[in-house]
């Protein structure tokens, strides 16, 4: 292995050729949970405390290391040094090409690491309580630890190949965790659906990886000027033209974005995410709210230089516009469907799809900082919401239909207040975290001619978000109880993480307000100052977005409020516009569409392949086998009749001859004497004859 250590600085160059301790041990952050997963895999099911302890312990150490690394980067930022430290090594050499792997410590990876470790750790602790009654406790923690390790691997990767490898492991663990209760057919089907749908995206992603490597000759993002995200390589890719009027940069960016579309559940490939709620609630919280789906957003952020290559001031690139449109459409589409769902987790799932659309739109319109800020805040409040939903489910004795809940605000106070905090953050109500991040996105899109329609879509989406969340909480917490079972508050091991997340959901936004945009400056490696004048610029927007949210909340309360209709009664909105309701309730028939097109084609193609396999290849093999058997029969005939026969005949003749000769041994003395005498006669005759001559 070749060790190449590099430091690249952006503010102004930091201490060159010194890779900090934090960067050097960065590999431990994903490695520790992975090793814990390996050890847990060898443990027996009853060893619960040990497996949970290993998982939580390894992630805690990773959190400490991540905070250390984060502190190092912040220290650098405070000293006006843009930290970007990479540690690379060559995995293998194929001819003249290097296959390099490595990791990078920069503001983006640092902040993501801390978020993943922190939220993950809280969810691990929460799972100890949630999964306490499950008999496969140990297996759960093994998969959780493996997931955490792989996700962190995605985050720290400096090599697109290493990122892809960890990406795939993330997909695998998602499959394992969604299908955790594999004996339930719906869970097994959901896991398969998730894996296959994300796979479609991953195929395009891999194509993008290969093309990127072919185009730039390197797999590393940052490599002291030679990396694929650095100006030299970008310039080369911009100059190369490919199909459809795109440059190589644009085409590769779109291929990589396709991978993000699959993993983050964007519009055509979103179908797996709602079904993924078959998994245990901690899985939904961790993977499908905070981290795995965020991996797609993180990927786009990581390759943002590629997406934005060739951007002119005031304009945008094709890749970024595609990202924005896909994001905006997804945001509205999913929000519409969320209105008509009855399963508490499914509402949140569609909400996640919608918010991911917001993040993608944020990346497309405003850049890395805008999209990432929403990602970070979303991680906290969505995890909170999912865990709160889990607490509600746990407390309502495994009831998941919101129409059968109600009045829980008095029976489960901790859950209620934290859930409210999360809900308001999600809606984007001032001053909760979601308000600042969502406003950042809207701010980036407003006033720009090219992004006008996405902007309107996003605003409409905000209204819908407020509407469906109000619907949900009024069904769940307000009104009177509709279930027969008695609900109770969840244990402390579940409510304490809720409280912690609730706190962050409330205050986290303060690091990214226009007044003091610390987050954005940190990511952009520029100094941050208190600017109260910024309030004036974005003040109009803040007021109008708050108004939109209030309209949404009001509409929701007006329709649903304290009413608590029974499950059999039609929904309030359904009474108003029944056909729309039916379409929304059936998830806009997307699954059915896929069923008749893609899946039907796939089945047909599988039958064709099966026929080919059985008749053509199988036939060929059978033909060869038949030919061999024929040859074998021929050989046998030859062997039996010619060889054996000949041999046997020969032996018979010999035996016959022997028999004939044996007659000489008559056992009678006189015969022997006669023969003796005869022999003597012959000998004597010869002797005499020869001596005469």
């Amino acid at each position: 292995m070749l060790m190449q250590e590099e430091v690249a600085a952006a503010f102004h160059p930091g201490n060159a050729c010194i890779v900090s301790f934090a960067a050097r041990v960065l590999w431990l952050i994903p490695a520790l949970p992975m090793m814990a997963a390996g050890v847990i895999a060898l443990l027996k099911q009853p060893q619960r405390r040990l497996s949970a302890g290993l998982a939580i312990g390894s992630l805690s150490i990773s959190l400490v290391l991540a905070v250390m690394a984060f502190a190092h980067v912040v220290a650098g930022w405070a000293n006006h040094v843009a930290v970007r430290e990479t540690v690379d090594f060559t995995w293998m050499q194929v001819g003249a090409a290097h296959v390099d792997l490595g990791w990078v410590l920069d503001p983006l990876s640092a902040i993501m690491m801390v978020m993943v470790c922190f939220v993950g750790l809280l969810i691990f602790i929460y799972s100890v309580g949630y999964m306490a009654h499950d008999e496969n406790f140990t297996r759960f923690f093994c998969f959780l630890a493996l997931f955490a390790g792989a996700m962190l691997g995605v985050v720290i990767s400096n090599s697109i190949l290493l990122l892809f490898m960890n990406w795939e492991i993330v997909g695998l663990t998602s499959y394992l965790l969604i299908g955790f209760w594999y004996h339930k057919p719906s869970a097994a089907a959901a896991a398969k659906k998730a894996f296959l749908t994300t796979r479609i995206g991953d195929v395009f992603f891999l194509l993008g990886v290969v093309w990127l490597f072919a185009q730039t000759g390197t797999l590393l993002f940052y490599n002291g000027g030679g990396g694929s995200m650095e100006p030299l390589a970008l310039g080369g890719m911009l100059a190369t033209h490919s199909a459809l009027g795109l440059t190589a940069a644009g085409a590769i960016a779109l291929l990589i974005f396709a991978g993000a579309v699959g993993k983050s559940g964007q519009l055509p490939l979103h179908v797996w995410l709602p079904d993924a709620m078959e998994g245990p609630t901690p899985v939904s919280a961790l993977i499908h709210a905070a981290t795995m789906v965020a991996a797609g957003v993180y990927l786009v952020a990581r390759v943002y230089p590629l997406m934005a290559a060739g951007i002119q001031p005031g304009g945008s690139t094709t890749a970024l516009m595609v990202v924005t449109w896909v994001g905006a459409l997804t945001a509205v589409f999913a929000a519409l469907i969320a209105i008509a769902q009855d399963d508490i987790k499914r509402i949140l799932a569609y909400s996640t799809v919608s918010q991911l659309g917001y993040m993608m739109a944020g990346l497309g319109l405003g850049g890395v900082a805008v999209g990432m800020f929403h990602l970070i805040t979303h991680a906290f409040f969505k995890a909170l919401l999912f865990m709160g939903a889990g607490s509600v489910i746990h407390g309502s004795h495994d009831e998941q239909d919101v129409r059968k809940m109600g009045g829980l605000k008095d029976k489960m106070p901790w859950t209620f207040y934290t859930y409210m905090a999360g809900m308001l953050a999600l809606c984007g109500f001032i001053p909760f975290a979601g308000f600042w991040s969502k406003d950042g996105i809207l701010d980036a899109g407003k006033g720009w001619e090219v992004s006008r329609w996405p902007f309107y879509l996003l605003v409409f989406g905000a209204l819908l978000t407020a509407f469906y969340m109000t619907r949900q909480i009024s069904y769940v917490f307000f009104g009177h109880t509709r279930s027969e079972k008695h609900a109770h508050e969840s244990p402390a091991v579940m409510t304490v993480p809720l409280a912690i997340l609730g706190f962050f959901a409330t205050v986290l936004g303060l690091i990214g307000t226009p007044v003091w945009p610390w987050f954005q400056s940190f990511l952009g490696s520029s100094p941050a100052h208190f600017e109260f004048s910024a309030l004036g610029e974005s003040g109009m927007l803040m007021v109008s977005s708050t108004l939109v949210v209030l309209v949404g909340l009001g509409l929701g309360w007006w329709f649903y409020g304290n009413k608590s209709p029974k499950a059999e009664e039609p929904d309030a909105l359904e009474r108003v516009m029944p056909p729309v309701w039916v379409v929304l309730r059936n998830k806009m028939y997307v699954d059915e569409l896929y069923g008749v097109t893609v899946i039907a084609f796939y089945w047909w193609w599988a039958q064709v392949a099966d026929w080919l396999d059985r008749r053509v290849w199988g036939g060929a093999v059978a033909g060869v086998a038949w030919a061999f058997r024929g040859m074998a029969q021929l050989n046998r005939l030859f062997d039996v009749h010619w060889v054996d026969g000949g041999f046997d005949k020969g032996c018979e003749e010999l035996a016959g001859g022997g028999g004939l000769l044996a007659r000489v041994q008559s056992g009678r003395v006189q015969t022997y004497l006669r023969l003796l005498a005869l022999a003597v006669v012959v000998l004597a005759a010869i002797l005499i004859w020869s001596s005469r001559g």
């Binding site: 044996a662 000489v664 056992g667 009678r668 006189q670 004497l673």
Partner: protein
């Protein structure tokens, strides 16, 4: 024809007679008698050559013949003993019936 040739022819005739008896008679004892005749014919040959041949060693022929007589006597004794024993087992001296050594 020299006298020696005459004696040799007689010896040959006797030998042939003895052989014929040994080869054609059924009784084992007669085979032995035939064998004795053959031995005697051989002795006659020896003595004839002793008389008419050159004799740097005067005694050789005679010695040969004397020893031959002695050995023939011994052999007759053993042979007849065997015949008697075989007769006890097989209750017959018929050679045609003695083919247990058949190959």
């Amino acid at each position: 024809m020299s006298p020696l040739a005459g004696y040799l022819l007689v010896a040959a005739l006797l030998f042939a007679i003895g052989l014929a008896g040994a080869l054609t008679r059924r009784n084992a004892i007669l085979v032995l008698i035939g064998i004795e005749l053959m031995l005697n014919a051989a002795n006659l040959n020896l003595i004839a050559f002793w008389r008419y041949g050159p004799h740097p060693e005067a005694l050789t022929g005679m010695m040969f013949a004397i020893f031959s007589i002695a050995v023939a006597a011994a052999e007759a004794a053993v042979g007849l003993g065997l015949v008697i024993q075989v007769h006890r087992h097989a209750k017959t001296t018929d050679l045609d019936q003695m083919n247990r050594m058949k190959g």
